[in-house]
């Protein structure tokens, strides 16, 4: 039995929580629970997913209000102690707002919501989020295809931060073709310690062939392998 215990946080307005739960519980057969955002602790969960969606209707700024939900105190504690946290789309925005990842996500440069499949280049093949791609000959080109669906995915940070991200191999994924104006084509990045991942594309929406794509599941498999 896998030692991974996934917790999928549900904020008011989350809408990829079910995709994440389905991928982990039904496709990958992992111990998975939803965590209501008003809970004060993450309980015995050791991998936290902050799902995509529109928490609090994206009021004020995407993720700005969810960042102060009661459960976030314990998520920050978990992350600061080296616990694994994955933020997808709105979850990535929440991680940036919470200061767990550097930078911020601005309105797409086109001002349009983008919803399509994109090709990502795996920039860091040795992270706990990408190891299963390296082991799979299907990904020998170092590329995967997953969907994006966001209006605010234009990643920005100051030049010192960008230098640090590149020097420490913190950029995990880059877009092959930039859909949103993101600095340096950054699609996903992790903290320096490598236990917190934020990404705009949706691996949880591309994890079984029945939906057309299953490249995303290898991200979760990597995490599962890193724990066992």
């Amino acid at each position: 039995m896998s030692k991974a215990k996934f917790g999928v946080v549900v904020f008011p307005g989350s809408n990829c929580d079910h995709d994440a739960y389905n991928t982990l519980k039904n496709i990958l057969n992992q111990d998975t629970e939803y965590l209501w955002h008003k809970n004060s602790t993450i309980g015995n969960r050791n991998v936290i997913i902050l799902p995509g969606g529109f928490s609090y209707g994206d009021y004020l700024r995407c993720g700005a209000i969810a960042r102060f939900s009661p459960i976030m105190k314990d998520v920050i504690r978990h992350a600061s102690n080296g616990g694994i946290v994955i933020g997808v789309c709105n979850g990535f925005q929440i991680l940036c707002e919470a200061g767990l990842l550097p930078g911020a996500l601005l309105r797409n440069a086109s001002l349009k919501f983008v919803c399509k499949n994109v090709k990502l280049k795996i920039e860091n093949k040795n992270s706990i989020f990408t190891s299963a791609f390296s082991e799979n000959p299907e990904f020998k080109t170092g590329k995967l295809t997953v969907p994006v669906a966001h209006g605010d995915g234009n990643y920005i940070c100051d030049s010192d931060t960008l230098k640090m991200l590149n020097e420490n191999n913190q950029v995990v994924f880059r877009y092959e073709t930039n859909p949103n104006g993101s600095t340096d084509n950054i699609a996903g990045l992790m903290n320096k310690q490598g236990n917190i991942l934020g990404m705009m594309p949706h691996p949880e929406r591309a994890s079984e062939q029945i939906v057309g794509l299953n490249d995303g599941r290898y991200l979760f498999e990597s995490v599962i392998n890193s724990i066992n």
Partner: protein, 85 residues
């Protein structure tokens, strides 16, 4: 009682695509002397205090913690005593 009027704008160094789109639209109306259009947020709140200094401190804290994200936004505000109104 004090009121605070807060303006939050994208930092100068950050391209504001929404501002640019509006600027182009203004220029298409024939106003060729309109430059540097920037779009921001305006927030009003009331603070239950009798101290001007406290009103400023609280407003500044709330801006820092929640209303503005220092990575991408600047803010400024005015506070005013509204007891007499």
């Amino acid at each position: 009682m004090y009121s605070a009027k807060i303006k939050v704008t994208l930092r100068k160094s950050i391209l504001d695509p929404q501002g640019k789109a509006v600027e182009h639209s203004i220029q298409s109306l024939g106003y060729n002397n309109i430059l540097d259009t920037r779009i921001g947020k305006y927030i009003e709140l009331k603070i239950n205090t009798s101290s001007d200094e406290e009103a400023r401190i609280i407003t500044d804290e709330v801006c820092k913690k929640l209303l503005a994200n220092p990575v991408m936004e600047d803010y400024n505000f005015e506070v005013a005593n509204i007891n007499d109104k």
